[in-house]
Structure formats: structure tokens, C-alpha cells
Assembly symmetry: C2
Homo-oligomer: 242 residues x 2
DNA sequence: AATTTTCATTTGTCTGACGTTTAAATGTCT
DNA sequence: AGACATTTAAACGTCAGACAAATGAAAATT
């Protein structure tokens, strides 16, 4: 592991990159202990403070974890799906909110990805997934539910649909897309009528998943996508005319 | 922005979380300048070194950027799609390599997501996207191409397909899935015959995109997915019998 | 043998200092 | 007055050294 003495970027960034490359390339394996901060500062010929800043950068990406005490130190972290979900969601949410992504674009992406899960979910969903879907549908049918709770339940429903595909990689990829949409969805006010319509579609989706009818799930999702897009459009129009 | 004095985690992690929350919630907006390190260390009642470690954590997530000199400081960063791609790819690659995700699972996820783009790409692809696809197909047909270059070209071809959908959110989401698969794909040795078969399918995909025939693209992708899975299976069998 | 104590190692945090960068403010000359 | 050079203050980047706190191994004790 070496750093480029000609680079003009921060030393801590260079050191972080060197270690990150070593991890990604497999030179450092999971649970392997890195040299102590003192040793690293000798190796890279920088102060301990600089090494620490580099290590904190890696810790922020869940690439390493640190432990205090004798025989402690920094260890290469096994990146879990859980941790990856979290990062994915944070990144996606910020990306959408900071780049003025239109409701249409985000909505299209979300449903396109979700439809990719439909046939798999219809084939593989467990009773647990179906139970979660039905429970969320029930919650959605409660009168007086706040718009925020409604959206949260909507996300939970679609999460169950995605997880039902039984592919953790898909779940991880989609977690970002679905959750990151929530702030945009929260801007829509769901009338009683639109809720009713959506609940009906959710019920159809759950039923088709139950029956193992992938194409029907797919088509219902398409309908739901179109309707959601329409609601967003109406909201935009109302705003424009005000 | 406050930190919990009862928390047992590192101060720098707590401070990073406090600032991160402020950014995600919108309390700090893009290009806004954070207080100087000295001011932050006063506010949080910690040393400057600790504040710096917190800021480096945020910098590692591209949430802030720093500028030296008078009127410099830490600024809330506009997270670009470019930066998000990079993080997404690093995370996905590590996730796959560290969690012993099977070839089947990764392959299934990749093609499921890619098929989600098929109808959009057939509708919206520009001449540029088609040109990129055809150029990559041409490269793939060159004799003597190394397995590594072959895979790189394969990724480039599929990137063009995904980008052809004209939805940056989709492109961002899929970048991780497609690129992260590359190390797994590299483990397959592509015979002349299998390459020929794949090139034929790629050509069909490009043609159908050209013709705007979404369902045909989708079906060809399904065939390609099945064939890729089969190749992976043969590779696994060969390994088992050795 | 089990328990307690000691102890060395390592990370977490603090203090104070100095160098470097940068843009604004000031000064100088035409 | 305006263009250019100089100064200066603010802020980050890096360093050295110190102490506290945690932790597990080894030694001492019961």
C-alpha cells in the first residue's frame, strides 16, 4: 500500500483510498486486522491524526470497524445487506431531493424496477410476505389515517412485494428506489377516493401473488403506476393554477 | 443540532450523525456553508480534531466538500449522479464479493432489473445509444479478445441499453447491479461458440431497440439471461467434477 | 482450579502549534 | 479613477505529544 507523493489531494483521502483499494481488490480480507494507527502512521509517514481521519472515512462507508483496547484495532468489516440498505437509502433520498428529479422520473423508475420483481414474487412469496401485504392493506383501510402513515404503509406494502421475490440483491437495489420515493409521495394528498382505488389495486396485487399469477401482478402494477403518475400530475396542475 | 451525552458511541460519529440528519432533513441546504471547525468544536464542546474526524466521515459520503483559505470551510455538497454511481458500484461490488452471493442470485437480479429498462429503451433510445451498442458488438466480434476485455465490452453494451431508457434514476440504480456482476462474470471462460451466441443475441437486442419493439427486447433479454445462467451452471459443474 | 489483579496495547480525545491556501482589503502607481 | 501589486486575516491541513478509557492476556492470589 503506497500513496502518491505528487497528488495534490489531502493525505487522509489518499490513505483512505489506498486502504479502500486494498479491501476492494481482496488484498485485505474480511475480519483481517489492519496495522495499528501508530504503525500506519509510520508506514505512510504521516501523523496519527491524519491516519485517524483516513480510518474514519472508511468507517463511514462501513468498510472497517474499530475496537478499543489491547488486541483491538481496525478490522475489515463484512458489509452486510442491512448496512448496505441504509447507505443506499440515504444516497438515493439525497440524490432525488438535491437534483430536482421530477416526480414522473422517480415514479417511472420505481415502478419499472418493482415490476421486475413481480414474476419472481408471484412464484416465490412465502405466507409471511402475503400476511405482511394483507396487514398493510388493512391498515390502509383504517379511516382517519394521516397522509404520512398512509405513505409509510404504502412503502411497507411494496417492500413486502419486493422481498417476496426472495432475492436479497434485488431487495437491496430496490430498497433505495422505493424508500427514496417516500418524500415525493408525501407531497401528494391522498383523498378518500384515491385511497380506495389504490387499496383495491393493492388487494388485487396480493391476490395475484397468492395465486402465483406473475403476469397479472405485472399488469396491476402497471395500472397502479399509471394512476400514481396521474395523481402526481393533478397535484402539479393544481399547484400551477394556484 | 445537538448530540446525546448519554450515547456510548464515538463523539465524532455522533457529530457526523447530527450534521447528516440536518442535511437529509433539509435544515442545511445545498452549497450552504457549515460553521468553521473552530466554531463547531465550540458548539459541540469537543476538540477540533474530533470535529475534523466527523467532517471526514461526511466527506467520505460526498455529503460535504471542503475548501481551504479565507471564506473557505465545509459546504453541503450537491450529490451528483456521477458520485452516486461510484458509491453504488463500490458498495454493490463489496456486497457481492463479501457475502458469497451465488452467481444465480446476482444474475437473476441483474437481468430482472435490466428487463425493466427494455420497454423504455426501445421507446426512447437515441442514435447515440444504438451506435454505442453496435460499436461494442463489433468489438466483441474481434478474434483474440481477452476474457477481461470481453466482459468490459459486455458491461458497456448493457450500460448503453440501460442508459437508453433515458431515466437517470434507473441508470443510477442499475449501474451497481451491472458493474458489480463483472467480477463474477470474469470467472466464466467464454468459448468462441458461446461468444458467437451472445453476440447474436446482442445484435437482436440492438435491432429490436432500433425498431422500437420493447416486448421483443424483453424476450431476447430473457433468452440471454437463461443462457448466461446456463454458462454459469456449466462452470460450476466443471469445478465440482475437478 | 477459580478468581482477582496487574499490565501492556490500542483507540478516543484534547491541547497547542505551525504551514498552506485563499480571497478580501489595502496600498501604490499610472 | 482604475489597474495592478501587496498585505492580511480566516480557514483548513498536518504535526507532536499527552492523557484517558477500554480490553484482553498474563500473572498473582486464594
Amino acid at each position: 500500500m503506497k500513496i502518491d507523493p505528487n497528488s495534490k489531494s489531502d493525505l487522509s483521502a489518499q490513505i483512505a483510498k489506498a486502504i479502500r483499494d486494498a479491501i476492494v481488490s481482496g488484498a485485505l480480507i474480511v475480519d483481517e486486522r489492519l496495522p495499528s494507527e501508530a504503525e500506519l502512521s509510520e508506514q505512510f509517514e504521516v501523523s496519527r491524526a491524519t491516519v485517524r481521519e483516513a480510518l474514519k472515512r472508511l468507517a463511514a462507508q462501513s468498510l472497517i470497524r474499530t475496537q478499543r483496547g489491547a488486541f483491538g484495532g481496525a478490522f475489515v468489516n463484512r458489509l452486510s445487506f442491512e448496512e448496505a440498505y441504509g447507505q443506499q437509502i440515504t444516497t438515493s433520498t439525497l440524490l432525488l431531493s438535491m437534483n430536482a428529479v421530477s416526480f414522473e422520473t422517480a415514479c417511472e423508475a420505481r415502478f419499472a424496477l418493482e415490476r421486475a420483481c413481480a414474476p419472481l414474487c408471484a412464484k416465490r412469496r412465502t405466507p409471511d410476505h402475503l400476511a405482511t401485504m394483507r396487514a398493510e392493506i388493512f391498515r390502509q383501510s383504517q379511516p382517519g389515517l394521516s397522509d404520512e402513515s398512509w405513505c409509510a404503509s404504502d412503502v411497507a406494502f411494496h417492500r413486502a412485494l419486493v422481498d417476496g421475490a426472495g432475492n436479497p440483491v434485488l431487495s437491496y437495489q430496490l430498497a433505495g428506489a422505493v424508500e427514496a420515493m417516500q418524500p415525493l409521495m408525501n407531497m401528494i394528498t391522498f383523498t378518500a377516493r384515491s385511497r380506495e382505488r389504490i387499496i383495491a389495486l393493492h388487494t388485487k396485487i396480493a391476490d395475484f401473488c397468492d395465486a402465483g399469477d406473475g403476469p397479472a401482478v405485472d399488469q396491476t402494477l402497471e395500472t397502479l403506476a399509471a394512476y400514481t403518475l396521474q395523481l402526481g400530475q393533478e397535484m402539479a396542475d393544481k399547484k400551477a393554477n394556484r
